[in-house]
């Protein structure tokens, strides 16, 4: 996809407060479409329209199992495990930088 189009779609998707509320809710875990609609106080059709915009922007993915459609945030390409390892490595790299600084200081008697 043309990258300018996809950036525009992401900004358009997040530019609406209802869609931001949906995304906020989904960041805590997957939710069914009907559960999403309840607190938003709008018709199911209206929620579905918002979800379509979110899906087209690549931010959200929906999946139907039986009669239930579930929505979730679409991972950006890294799994949770990969990100944890990356964060853990970064923590140690920082510590080893600080170790290097300590070792560079002149020895005290």
């Amino acid at each position: 996809m043309n990258s300018r189009v996809s950036i525009d779609r992401v900004f358009h998707a997040l530019g609406d407060p209802t869609r931001r509320a949906i995304v906020e809710r989904l960041s805590a875990g997957p939710v069914s479409v009907s559960s999403l609609a309840q607190p938003l106080d709008m018709t199911l059709a209206a929620v579905v329209q918002h979800l379509q915009i979110l899906e087209r922007s690549g931010l959200v993915r929906t999946h139907k199992a039986g009669r239930v459609r579930t929505c979730r945030i679409k991972p950006a390409g890294f799994s949770l495990a990969e990100r944890w390892i990356r964060d853990r490595r970064a923590l140690w790299e920082k510590r080893f930088d600080q170790l290097g600084e300590l070792l560079n200081e002149p020895e005290e008697g």
Binding site: G77, R83, F96, L103
Partner: protein
């Protein structure tokens, strides 16, 4: 509710320091030296840091996230248990990390101290087990990070 899963991962970090193995090892073995490079970061304030560097000894660190961090006031607890120590050669330990009472990872780690021509090579190997779903406040933050990563990826 999502079923809890454990993710296992191993990674290695190698560093080179222009110092002798004795000097580098001392930075691990001497509590006063260790406190100066371990446990300090911009986001947290160290509240307690006890060190008992011997086989069977424990090391315990409690920090708290600062007001301007993503989790203000949240306690971060690191518990370490020393499994094997060979002076100037090797340190093996196990450690867990927790947000308050909630442990979210457990690891076995090894430090190897190798003398090369110019100084010391430090090899760090960590075999980590991450407990998915256990890091409550972090999970929420993750959702937004995913979005930011996606935006970053698009803009790159």
């Amino acid at each position: 509710m999502k079923e809890q899963a454990v993710t296992h991962s191993t990674f290695v970090i190698e560093r080179s320091y222009p110092a002798t193995v004795q000097q580098v090892f001392a930075a691990f073995a001497d509590p006063a030296k260790k406190r100066r490079w371990f446990g300090n970061d911009e986001a947290t304030e160290v509240e307690e840091f006890e060190i008992d560097f011997r086989v069977g000894g424990r090391e315990s660190r409690r920090s708290r996230f600062k007001a301007d961090s993503p989790f203000p006031g949240q306690a971060l607890i690191n518990q370490t248990y020393y499994l094997d120590i060979v002076p100037d050669r090797r340190i093996v330990f196990a450690y867990t990390m927790a947000f308050g009472e909630r442990r979210f990872s457990s690891s076995q780690s090894t430090f190897e101290f190798l003398s090369d021509g110019k100084g010391t090579q430090l090899v760090y190997t960590e075999q980590a087990a991450f407990f998915e779903g256990a890091d409550g406040p972090k999970m929420r933050e993750e959702g937004w990070r995913l979005l930011l990563e996606k935006l970053t990826a698009e803009l790159a």
